[in-house]
């Protein structure tokens, strides 16, 4: 690798269009980027911003209906790629530039051993024999920190976890020592602890290889922690381009400011401040606004914004596309977004009367037996999804539940709502013992419990109008007459900030955020005492997520409804929840009020979760606590403390043999660990960024 950092990739005036029907839709316009060796360049934007299209365009790997517009310049090490034929690109792909896609499972052929798949690339590009190729691959697998690479070589993709698959894909992309690596949301599908490990890996490998990298993501935290430079995209155009440190410290574009302010930071709560939200939604690419594409949503839009702003250079190494950047830079104007009605000041921490008490909830899923097992009379060990979990939810409060995938949080929620029949346990709602499933629960009880689901695409029936969807629970659960229900539908729609006309629309005409608002209105229709929110914002873009979180907080205050709020994102849970439980492998390991949970003593698992979160602040370097990815199978759980196999603070045999005791830290904060709390406190540092700690 060369010592002087030269330019690896030079892209200018890149335009990409897709043919849809008879129209050419210009998905990316005037894109430019300059990546140097050893540099990780972040490309951020929300869905539909054109960030992935730009990345695939650089690869010259567009779908059949896409084209790179004439005049586009794509130069890799001075070689012009824009004019190359697809055939000529084959020598470039794999050898000079490679891509790591979002879904590693889709990138790997399920029927070929993973090592073979990597070796194939070596043989194709370097014409070496089998043994040499194998040795090269094993060495590469070791470099991506896969333990026991010889064994991994002969595994099939389905035998590896998501994180391990992504490592194999990264190994595949790096084995030919390409000069450019394009990573398209490579950690979005992974758990936060795995994401942290992969990010470390990418950072170290890029530094060691001296390759340039383009990292496409929607997550500002990832950009802050990983990238040297960032370009912010919106509706197919560059809004701002700067060194990461400058961008986060002094954003010049109103959109960048909006993005930064709409993400809840760890430790920030609804009691302190409402999240700022960007109004409206991104424009459709077929009907872009005349002037500045961001003007319709921009709080600073003035008359001049009806004309297209040029891409200007406010300082060396910075670009911005805004008419008013000088005023923003000078501090003459403040970029102030709506904050959805202000902080929820009334939300105190004092105890309220109990609402729901779920005791010793357990769910074991039987594994279907194979014929041989039936003949042998063997019953396979069941999957122990949730084991002996109890929780108390208070009236009008939010109970947060966090954990990685497979922790059993969704199964627990489904048992409470009655969609899953518990193996064991009882639920008490306002002093009444609840029947186990929805079929056996009375109307009155059904009305008291409602749910908001994760995926807005699926939570509304596409063949029923919004009005019909909300009217149904009003009529069945509250016994309203049609006219009265119609009136109530209007009120509910208004309450979730949608115009009453939406009642006549079908879900297909709504954006993701609007659908989720309708789903929330439907959940509130029966005037429930408790709403279970299962990852309600994880499928939404950040600007929309903030608005939905504000809405949930405000509706809770108005209706005094309790939430059981499930999410994998600690910052989101911390923002909304009053009381939080951390789950791992079907058990709760720590409970406490939000403010206590984010300061030592932590449970070692919580500590790892907190430290894995990429903080949207490049100056903040958290102490890294990384967990191995070998999550034990819920069919074969570890003895003693279930976390001991991954615990960085394991103290010895006691962790393997005995279930840890609950330790009381006072104020409702309990930790289930063998290490005494004063010792934990002494071991751990606060992981919150400095300015959060002072607040």
């Amino acid at each position: 690798m060369s010592e002087t950092p030269g330019t690896v990739l030079h892209v200018a005036n890149l335009g990409i269009s897709y043919r849809v029907g008879k129209q050419w839709i210009r998905a990316v316009r005037e894109f430019q980027i300059e990546v140097k060796a050893g540099q990780i360049y972040g490309v951020v934007g929300e869905s539909g911003s054109g960030k992935s299209t730009a990345a695939t365009g650089i690869m010259r790997y567009l779908a059949a209906n896409g084209r790179t517009e004439p005049g586009s310049v794509i130069e890799l090490l001075g070689q012009d790629l824009a004019a190359r034929s697809a055939r000529a690109m084959q020598d470039v792909w794999g050898r000079c530039m490679n891509m790591v896609p979002q879904d590693p499972a889709a990138a790997l052929n399920p029927s070929i051993r993973v090592g073979e798949q990597v070796a194939e690339i070596v043989r194709r590009h370097e014409k070496v024999d089998r043994d040499t190729a194998r040795a090269r691959v094993v060495a590469m697998l070791r470099r991506v920190r896969l333990a026991d690479p010889e064994t991994i070589f002969d595994r099939f993709p389905h035998q590896l976890s998501g994180g391990m698959q992504q490592r194999v894909v990264i190994a595949m992309a790096l084995i030919t020592s390409p000069q450019l690596l394009i990573l398209d949301e490579p950690t979005t599908a992974l758990d936060v602890t795995t994401e942290a490990v992969i990010l470390d890996l990418v950072r170290d490998l890029i530094a060691a290889e001296g390759a340039g990298a383009v990292y496409v993501t929607h997550n500002l935290g990832v950009v802050a922690q990983l990238c040297e430079r960032v370009v912010v995209m919106y509706a197919g155009e560059i809004m701002e381009d700067a060194a990461a440190a400058d961008l986060f410290a002094r954003p010049l574009h109103p959109y960048t400011v909006g993005l930064l302010k709409s993400v809840p930071r760890l430790g920030q709560t609804k009691r302190e401040m409402a999240l700022q939200t960007i109004p409206g939604r991104p424009p459709s690419l077929t009907e872009l606004p005349e002037g500045c594409v961001y003007a319709p949503r921009c709080p600073l839009a003035i008359e001049i914004c009806q004309t297209k702003p040029p891409l200007e250079t406010p300082a060396a190494g910075r670009l911005v596309r805004c008419h008013r950047w000088q005023e923003i830079a000078a501090g003459a104007v403040e970029v102030a977004y709506e904050d959805g009605g202000g902080a929820i000041a009334s939300a105190g921490l004092e105890a309220r009367s109990p609402l729901l008490h779920a005791a010793e909830m357990t769910k074991h899923f039987a594994v279907s037996r194979s014929l041989i097992e039936v003949l042998q009379g063997v019953t396979p060990t069941p999957v122990r999804a949730v084991d002996d979990v109890s929780l108390h939810i208070q009236k009008g409060r939010t109970y947060g539940l966090v954990g990685e995938s497979g922790s059993g949080k969704t199964t627990l929620a489904r048992m409470i709502i009655g969609l899953e029949n518990p193996t064991d346990g009882s639920i008490d709602l306002l002093g009444v013992d609840l029947a186990p499933t929805v079929r056996t629960r009375g109307r009155e009880m059904l009305a008291k419990l409602q749910m908001v689901f994760q995926n807005p695409q699926n939570s509304l029936n596409p063949y029923l109008t919004v009005g019909q969807a909300i009217r149904r629970p009003l009529m069945t659960l509250r016994g309203m007459a049609r006219a009265e229900a119609d009136h109530e539908v209007e009120r509910l729609l208004t309450a979730v900030n949608l115009r009453p006309e939406y009642a006549a629309r079908y879900p297909g005409e709504l954006s993701g955020g609007e659908k989720q608002r309708v789903a929330i209105a439907r959940a509130f229709a029966s005037d429930p005492a408790l709403i279970i929110c299962d990852e309600p914002v994880s499928a939404l873009d950040v600007s929309v997520q903030a608005a939905v979180l504000n809405l949930l907080a405000r509706l809770q205050e108005e209706h005094d409804t309790a939430y059981l709020f499930i999410a994998h994102d600690l910052a989101v849970v911390g923002y909304l929840a009053d009381y939080i439980a951390v789950m791992y492998l079907g058990e709760i390991f720590e409970v406490g009020y939000g403010s206590d949970l984010f300061a030592p003593p932590y449970h070692p698992y919580t500590e790892a979760l907190v430290s894995a979160i990429p903080v949207a602040d490049p100056t903040h370097q958290s102490e890294r606590i990384r967990l191995s990815e070998d999550v034990p199978s819920p069919r074969n759980l570890p003895t003693g403390c279930r976390f001991h196999t991954r615990c960085p603070r394991k103290i010895g045999a006691i962790c393997e043999d005995e279930a840890p005791p609950w330790r009381d830290d006072g104020d409702g904060h309990y930790i289930r660990c063998h290490i005494p709390l004063p010792e934990l406190t002494a071991l751990q540092k606060s992981l919150l960024p400095d300015h959060e700690r002072d607040a």
Partner: protein, 266 residues
């Protein structure tokens, strides 16, 4: 396709002769008086082709419709219910699908045709429509399987769960929440089944187990005029055969079109 539908509706008004009018000379070559010529009994082939359109549409169409209705019910219920019911009915359907449709139809028809029913009794009335019933019977499992698999997919969607936690009745969930999403797949399947049904009706007619002479059935016409005297009057066979081919192709093209429309909107 539309052309054949019009023929079926207005056939009797268009046909120059009645189907069994034998007043014309036999084996007359096509001419202005007899556009498709006449067959060995002196019947006008043109009129018989036109009049035959109605029976084939009726038998295949109604048969398919019955199969679709019953198949949809069965598919929705076993798909939504799952468990043991699905296992039992599902395996039964799989077993049935292993048998070729034509063979099953032949066996059933063979049995029905060999039983003598008192004329005028309801059994006889049923036996008269035996081809229609056989079509329905043969296609029920196929339709049920398609509906079942789409139901299995849709019942895991969150809007179905939202209905469950409202305590909705099973019938409401099946018909109001799930059924509309099954419709696109169902329409595509129905139009495909219809084209197969037409071919099956014609085949059964040809094999002599469908309509009995002197009904103007296209399959039967092909069979009747196939004998050693084919060379003398090729038109009597060629035109009904052409009609079958054109109709089957037409229906297939239509079902392709239907599929494309639904794939676009879905």
């Amino acid at each position: 396709m539309l052309f054949f539908l019009l023929l079926a509706l207005f056939g009797p008004a268009l046909a120059p002769y009645t189907e069994n009018n034998q007043s014309s000379p036999p084996r007359e070559a096509p001419s202005t008086a007899y556009p498709f010529g006449t067959d060995y009994l002196g019947r006008d082939v043109f009129s018989r082709v036109i009049l035959g359109a109605r029976s084939i549409f009726l038998t295949a169409g109604v048969g398919t419709l019955i199969a679709v209705v019953i198949g949809t019910f069965v598919g929705l219920f076993i798909g939504y219910q799952g468990g043991l019911l699905d296992e039992v009915v599902g395996r039964f359907i799989d077993a049935f699908l292993a048998l070729p449709a034509l063979l099953v139809a032949l066996v059933i028809l063979g049995i029905i045709k060999n039983v003598d029913f008192a004329p005028g009794s309801w059994q006889a009335a049923v036996a008269d429509q035996s081809v229609l019933i056989v079509i329905a019977l043969v296609y029920v499992p196929i339709v049920a399987r398609v509906v079942r698999s789409s139901t299995l997919d849709i019942k895991t969607r969150e809007f179905v769960q939202a209905a469950q936690i409202r305590g909705e009745a099973r019938l409401y969930i099946i018909f109001r929440e799930i059924f509309p999403s099954v419709v696109p797949a169902l329409v595509v399947e129905a139009s495909l089944r219809f084209s197969y049904a037409i071919f099956l009706v014609a085949s059964l007619g040809f094999l002599g187990v469908g309509a009995s002479p002197p009904t103007p059935d296209w399959g039967l016409m092909v069979s009747e005029n196939r004998g050693g005297l084919y060379q003398l009057a090729p038109w009597a066979l060629n035109f009904p055969a052409l009609a079958i081919a054109v109709l089957v192709i037409g229906v297939n093209l239509m079902s392709d079109g239907v599929k494309r429309v639904f794939q676009k909107s879905g």
